[in-house]
């Protein structure tokens, strides 16, 4: 016999007087319509969920503070809040667009993690050790220039001052060091790539 539906206005009043069940009834009554409205604008479940939540947090805060005075217009009022939050969402997204990774193009196919994984790190260390061994076969003057340039990061001007030769000579030694290093690598049939 209890078929008479309690109006929103009554439920709002009861909620403002401390009846928490009234809020549950209001949410259950209007959740589908409000959520559908939000979803029809943003087309994203997660965003809709967030905006729905924010909408009702505003509703709860307003009602609990006793600031609500639109009796009988509960749903349009909530819809207006939801509408404003949807606009806020789009404004925010315009400033900081969200990348949707659902299409054919996958952002992770062009973005990669520049850090080496443990396997490539081991290979890199091994190659560097091999190169350190190989350069020992170079003539002393070439080895000296190559070591200063590559491992000590010195400029050719500094190398020329340190070794007492001209910059051109230092450059020439470096050039021959690299040529000879390639020959040594070929002779040993080494593959020094990652």
């Amino acid at each position: 016999m209890n078929n008479v539906e309690i109006t929103d206005a009554v439920l709002v009043r009861e909620y403002m007087q401390g009846n928490e069940n009234a809020l549950s009834k209001l949410i259950n009554r209007h959740q589908h319509r409000i959520y559908s409205f939000i979803f029809s604008k943003v087309y994203d479940r997660d965003v809709s969920e967030d905006i729905f939540q924010d909408t009702f947090i505003k509703v709860i805060n307003t009602l609990k503070r006793g600031k609500y005075n639109e009796e009988g217009k509960f749903l349009p009022w909530v819809m207006r809040i939801a509408h404003n939050l949807v606009i806020d969402h789009f404004r925010r997204n315009k400033r900081m667009p969200k990348f949707d990774n659902s299409g054919d193009f996958n952002i992770f196919s062009v973005l990669s993690d520049s850090d080496l994984n443990i396997e490539t790190q081991i290979i890199k260390d091994q190659i560097e050790n091999d190169v350190k061994e190989l350069i020992k076969e170079l003539p002393e003057d070439q080895l000296e220039v190559l070591t200063m340039r590559i491992y000590k990061d010195m400029s050719f001007k500094e190398i020329s001052e340190r070794t007492g030769v001209s910059i051109n000579t230092a450059l020439g030694r470096m050039r021959y060091a690299l040529i000879n290093l390639r020959k040594i690598i070929e002779k040993h049939n080494l593959v020094l790539t990652n």
């Binding site: 928490e20 959520y35 559908s36 809709s48 969920e49 939540q53 709860i60 503070r65």
Partner: protein
């Protein structure tokens, strides 16, 4: 071939599914229960009780 294997939902079915998650609704109800508004000399402060 795709249409042979996919069943297109009717508009009614699509709309039927559109509602917030139970967790969201439960969160709102819990938030409401936890929120207390204190009136201090005309200024209202909201506090969340654990």
């Amino acid at each position: 071939m795709r249409k042979l294997y996919t069943k297109k939902l009717s508009k009614k079915d699509q709309l039927k599914d559109l509602q917030p998650g139970k967790e969201t609704v439960q969160f709102l109800l819990n938030y409401s229960k936890a929120l207390r508004v204190v009136d201090c000399r005309g200024i209202k402060f909201g506090t969340i009780l654990n």
